[in-house]
Symmetry: C2
């Protein structure tokens, strides 16, 4: 019985899906700060360098993790009117990113898009055209709302990271500001804390969209079908 070498090669121990899953697990259990190529490798019983066969670099890995999450997200019900659709789509996009807000840095650094969001971007452009914008205006509005989204995520996740909101340095600075020089700062301090609690994303979103869809002069309104 001559042993013939099977043509199929030995399966690689690692592959992209396993790496992404391991990364996701580390984040879930130990938080985003615990994620490094070394910890992912250890989780898989491999060397850090083995990962580079399957993933370009760390930022790409983060985007892959986000992409996997976004694919699992249940699709939102979309209203029929373009304005409502636009709002719903961005809320959905924002909600997806809000689960992993620290990926935004990787997204910006690597200038990448998670492929899973492409359908939503297409839908956003489609809704913008349906609302009467030109493609250029739609691109403008997209970038504006994208910036708005990035900002909300950055501020919100930084606020959330602080476990004890009581001893915020900002709030202390404002409260301890000399009232004769800064009368309003001191008075506003309690409102600050209250405003921090709830998200302002939707309100800002609606303001930006409505400003783009309606002309500045209040009388002339953009025609809706």
């Amino acid at each position: 019985m001559s042993s013939v070498k099977p043509p199929k090669r030995r399966r690689a121990r690692l592959d992209r899906a396993a790496i992404v899953e391991a990364a996701d697990g580390i984040i879930a259990r130990a938080g985003p700060d615990a994620l490094s190529l070394r910890t992912v490798a250890k989780e898989l019983g491999a060397t850090p360098m083995a990962l580079y066969r399957h993933v370009p670099d760390k930022d790409a890995l983060l985007v892959l993790v986000l992409n996997a999450l976004y694919e699992r997200l249940p699709r939102p019900r979309l209203p029929r009117d373009p304005r409502g659709r636009l709002i719903a789509l961005w809320i959905h996009l924002h909600a997806g990113l809000a689960r992993y807000p620290w990926v935004v840095d990787a997204l910006l650094n690597s200038d990448t898009i998670a492929p899973a969001v492409l359908p939503d971007i297409e839908a956003i452009l489609e809704a913008s055209l349906a609302a009467g914008l030109t493609l250029e205006q739609a691109a403008r509005l997209y970038r504006m709302v994208w910036q708005h989204t990035v900002g909300e995520l950055a501020v919100q996740s930084a606020t959330a990271a602080r476990t004890t909101p009581q001893k915020s340095a900002v709030l202390r600075t404002m409260k301890s500001a000399p009232p004769q020089r800064f009368p309003l700062l001191a008075k506003a301090a309690p409102h600050w804390a209250a405003v921090r609690a709830k998200s302002l994303y939707r309100d800002g979103l609606v303001a930006l969209i409505d400003a783009a869809l309606t002309t500045r002069t209040c009388g002339r309104q953009h025609p809706r079908p």
Copy 2:
């Protein structure tokens, strides 16, 4: 001649101002990525650890650098009407941060305020009240615009960091998207590049402010003196 020890102690080699100045110099010459406690110490001919006598940690140092810059900034001329004042103040604040956009991370991480901006925040609140908002509405608007500002700075500085805008991964992804599934993405690609070039900060700012100052119903407008 008996030598009497002078009561004044030997001056410390380091002080906060020197450290901030050295850090500023490194950033100016070699960029923000070159800044570390080690490089600052080397610049001053000292050990990294010597810095900790004068500055709490790295984030605090970054905020101090921003603060020094902000103090050097020429004051803007402020319009008399509250809305115009609000816009001018935020444009000024944004312009200051836009010179050192990477400090925003440190600002958010450490939950700190650069003291030099306190007068502007006070002025923003004052203008908001003059425009007819309550203090709570003013705080809300402040946070909303702050998020908007953070987002614009993050996106803009990431875009600026890319030396060759031609080979942006995002633009490549959009151009190479299958046109039958994503017809608008492909068509929008050229507009994307164009929109990236110019800042949308002012437009977004005005939209957010106007939404806060006017009621949503177009008829009733906020009274202006």
